[in-house]
Amino acid sequence: MSALASTHHAELAATTPLEELDVSDPALYRDDVWQPYFARLRREAPVHHCRNGMFGPYWSISTYKEIVQAELLHKVLSSESALGGISIRDRPADLRLPMFIAMDPPRHDEQRRAVQPIVAPANLAKLEHLIRERACRILDELPRNETFNWVDKVSVELTVQMLATLFDFPQEERRKLSYWSDCATALPMPGGIIETEEQREAVFAEMLASFMGLWNARVNAEPGNDLISMLAHAPATRHMSPREFMGNLVLLIVGGNDTTRNSITGGVLFLNQNPEEYAKLRANPALVESMVPEIIRYQTPIAHMRRTAIADVEFAGHTIREGDKVVMWYISGNRDEAAIEQPDRFIIDRKRPRQHLSFGFGIHRCVGNRLAELQLTILWQEILKRFDRIEVVGPEKRVHSTFIHGITELPVRIPA
């Protein structure tokens, strides 16, 4: 962000009456100016009610400790898609998709267990070799002394190949997966990848048709090691309605794709913004291990998760009423000085780097967290073997979203 914009937002954040402070505007994230607003909320109102938010009234929880406490209250703070689900923006009621991230126990627990084997230690060990092979191939083909978009050539490419493997989806059609993922998370607007909700539904229908073919083949075959086969054979998921299958596909595609992609991009950006950390890393490549969780904290690829109260609940001195929308801002809790030392700095050798909120906590804690770390670890190990430096040569472009905290363009150059 420019110095001017940053002063402007610092001033605005300081002078807006507290009760009018609204952190739901996606432009705050597109322009990377969200920081001072949350600093004020953490200081003055860790649990804050906004009456006139861009997406309606909502509670904000912005401090680390309180976010963990809210995660544990899944009995009163529901994830249910019919109530609005997990993102601050309500989709039209008839278009809400059931998926297990947006379900409460017991259905959530049963469906989650169906896909959990994909990340069992033995399966991750099998994937490791494959990920390394692909990372090497992608890196070896990168141009030298030439400006290119790191997001497209590396971040999207590596994550989408991985995703195709997890689904056992045809590799030659893998870019469809990132297209569906982008459509799933886009805010409909004129000129955008998705202009209307109807258009999004049409894309989802096309996605479902494509996966139905895979489902039909797998359901009649021996149980396999891919996500579709797991869903087709597990008792909890094998009789899912087409809409529920669609919802879970969206969950697995977005979950396994966007988030890791944006961490891969974030790492390059942060090392360029912090040359002394980049120097530390070059001098000691073993620091990749602690750098990877620090990248994921610092990026916070999912800015928030939303819940809906299904009963009145006393929380940190406030009464949250049945029906209220509650937003847990991971992006803010990850910058909470009460929980993390010097939280606004990117430090690749922190003592306990995995203590962050980016994967959530409680029963919905990210299924793929170790897989995401594995991909980033391997990629950085291989980058350090090949390139002395990846230089960011222009401003990044960020996603216009309150939910997905991401980067769509990062122009870089690798010196020959």
Binding site: V68, Q69, R113, P121
Partner: protein, 106 residues
Amino acid sequence: MPSIIYIEHDGTEHAVEVPIGHSVMLGAVENNIPGIDADCGGECACATCHVFVDPAWLALCGTPGEQESSMLSFAATAAPNSRLSCQIPVTEALDGLIVRMPEAQH
């Protein structure tokens, strides 16, 4: 002080003294014993402090609460003697407790 024996997945043993009232998780973290991550710091919210309690000691460790049981039910390698070590407070009666670490924490 009670002594707790932590056995890593590769068989490496660590016997350390842990103050009464601390959790079994904290005993490992404070002594830098690898194999227990404890990402949530003991809030029963991450399941990265998963251990297998030696069957002889299982009853003395009490029974898991509801939150602990649901977190454990998602762990890929969970077994009937699985516990989240942040939910086991160290007592005099646990002097000599043996816990084993899984292949990986999730």
